[in-house]
């Protein structure tokens, strides 16, 4: 009875590869076990269960994602930084759809705070905005706009939601240019109604 050499790390790594191949929600304890040529019950010695596996997959994927973003951002600022960020973002989402989906899993707040990858992603995103002259709360609004657009595009692309014949790469490039233009000329807040009696 030879051993497969399972560890929590290898189980999570296998789950990550499986997620990229067959989709995150097709990743089951049984399927990962099959990949090791092992019975499903054997995995429970290394991982508490499916939700634990998904949670570990989420933090591992976020760390990998943050790494790519970090590398892309190194030494760049302003428009260059935004373009590199967006490029790295979409590349990761396209090449690692399962891992990308895992980074978007809704986790308990304390798990999220204990995940270096997730924290780093937030830091890197805000660092990107040092290149734009935005004060709070405009900065947070702008961050939310950028995050929404990048994630929305990735989600729609993954779901095959873009039907028009127009090339996706070209659309993506133009969108990023447009966002850059918007961030450099963020419209001022309209006068608040409560201040004019």
């Amino acid at each position: 009875m030879p051993r497969a050499g399972l560890t929590p790390e290898r189980v999570v790594e296998a789950a990550a590869e499986l997620a990229d191949e067959i989709g995150l929600d097709q990743v089951t304890v049984s399927a990962v076990a099959r990949g090791f040529g092992v019975k499903d019950a054997s995995l429970y010695a290394h991982v508490r269960g499916l939700s634990d596996l998904r949670s570990r997959l989420a933090t591992a994927s976020a760390a990998a994602f943050a790494d790519r973003i970090n590398t892309a951002l190194a030494g760049r600022s302003g428009h260059e930084a935004l373009a590199a960020f967006a490029q790295a973002y979409r590349t990761f989402a396209v090449h690692h759809p399962g891992r990308y989906a895992a980074t978007q899993l809704a986790l308990p707040a304390e798990t999220l705070e204990a995940s270096p990858g997730h924290r780093r992603l937030v830091e890197l995103t805000y660092a990107l905005f040092l290149g734009y002259d935005l004060a709070e709360p405009d900065r947070t609004d702008a961050v939310r706009l950028l995050r929404s657009t990048l994630h929305g595009f990735a989600a729609l692309e993954a779901a095959g939601g873009f039907g028009a014949p127009r090339d996706l790469d070209a659309s993506w490039a133009r969108m990023i240019e447009a966002l850059h233009a918007l961030l450099t000329r963020w419209p001022p807040a309209p006068p608040s109604a409560t201040l004019s009696p």
Copy 2:
């Protein structure tokens, strides 16, 4: 043995309500059957199976969604139309998270083309852009930007992805204003490298 009065429509309606309550991916044939006080096998007389149920739920939800958008858009154009569209979009996504998620399910192309709701959503989105002076391919790029932003925000909000204390309604309003500004002054395409030898 009294009958529950099942029809495909009522099954789909029950599935839609369940999806809004417990989440789309918690909707199972068994759970819907339980809601009717009926065995799971009984549903297979009305729906071919889980994937058929999800497909029907997607088209029904898209129709409902298109209805709200349509109502919001009636008689409006330009900035007003965009604001009403965005408002209706987010309201639906927040109040009907399961149905909204169903509208984003990846369906086979022929199913999508046969779904009036999905078609109507595309039409309404392009109608919105009559108020902006954009020629192809810029229009498609702009449509993709808007769709990405709206869907991304809805997805991140549903997943609890916005941690900052800043009010979500306020961010949403500012984002829509910013997008309006962007659409009215869409940056021109950069000179193509292939045209300058």
